[in-house]
Symmetry: C2
Subunit: 161 residues, 2 copies
């Protein structure tokens, strides 16, 4: 397991580059850090034949209030047509079903099947392990701080603290 190293950048390059302008660019830092993280996650989910994306879909499908495909698209920052393909695959594997929303018959809710829930249970453990190894250099407090900042970025300020 050599590629599980925590520090993303080889120390020598890091010390030479960390003062560069780019190394202070939030966008660059985040993309780099989490591109590696996604790769790690994909790797860990491989035994279950899931990828980060399909895991995300399956995860929302397990929530008590499932999402429509359109909502999945905006949430995953994806084109609606990509969601179709993603859901198609999970349907074919019997992990998920499409349910037409009776309140608006244009919408399709994506719901997990019992098998889907079983697979998700195992997958979420692997995902947690992947996150743990991705954030290895951060203390528990720092991880929570990061999570809070990202949540604020994505969902906006918390209405009820």
């Amino acid at each position: 397991m050599a590629d599980e190293a925590a520090g993303a950048v080889p120390a020598e390059l890091g010390s030479r580059f960390s003062s560069a302008a780019l190394a202070h660019d939030v966008e660059f830092l985040a993309v780099k850090a989490f591109a590696a993280g996604t790769r790690r996650l994909n790797h860990r989910l491989r035994p279950l034949e899931l990828r980060a994306r399909s895991y995300a879909v399956l995860s929302t499908a397990c929530e008590p209030q499932p999402l429509t495909q359109r909502e999945l698209a905006t949430l995953l920052e994806l084109d609606p047509s990509q969601v179709v393909a993603l859901v198609d695959e999970l349907v074919a594997r019997g992990l998920v079903v499409r349910v037409t929303d009776e309140r608006d018959r244009r919408r399709r809710l994506v719901q997990a099947s019992p098998e889907g829930r079983a697979v998700h249970a195992r997958a979420s453990e692997l995902a947690a392990a992947a996150e743990d190894s991705s954030l290895a250099t951060l203390s528990p407090d720092e991880r929570e701080a990061l999570r809070a900042l990202l949540r604020k970025l994505v969902f906006g300020p918390d209405p009820a603290p």
Copy 2:
């Protein structure tokens, strides 16, 4: 300019989804937030015919100590062959030159030309504006906290505080 909205998730969906398990997954949050951010950056750089990637390459090329293509690959989390294409394009546009490192003639350093520096100067202003709008929901302190956390994630703990 409608797509410049700060809050990434439509409020209604956010309040319904923000308590879901996925909404606490750092990997998911980060990828979502910065996928949108990269799109925004690409959009802003369009007038200069640059993208987030080529901007990153150009930026390192402007540093006093330029990087080899291999280093660029690990830094940008890219396959070496992708770096070739990226650098090829910048070379064709006269923004960058390949210089063989005389200390190891296998290596090619990617250095900015005067034109490259001029373009980069303008590009970095656009990038700063893009970052500013991407992080609009965060206070200055929070932005610095986020930057520090990401730097720790990418470069490891600061040797000299």
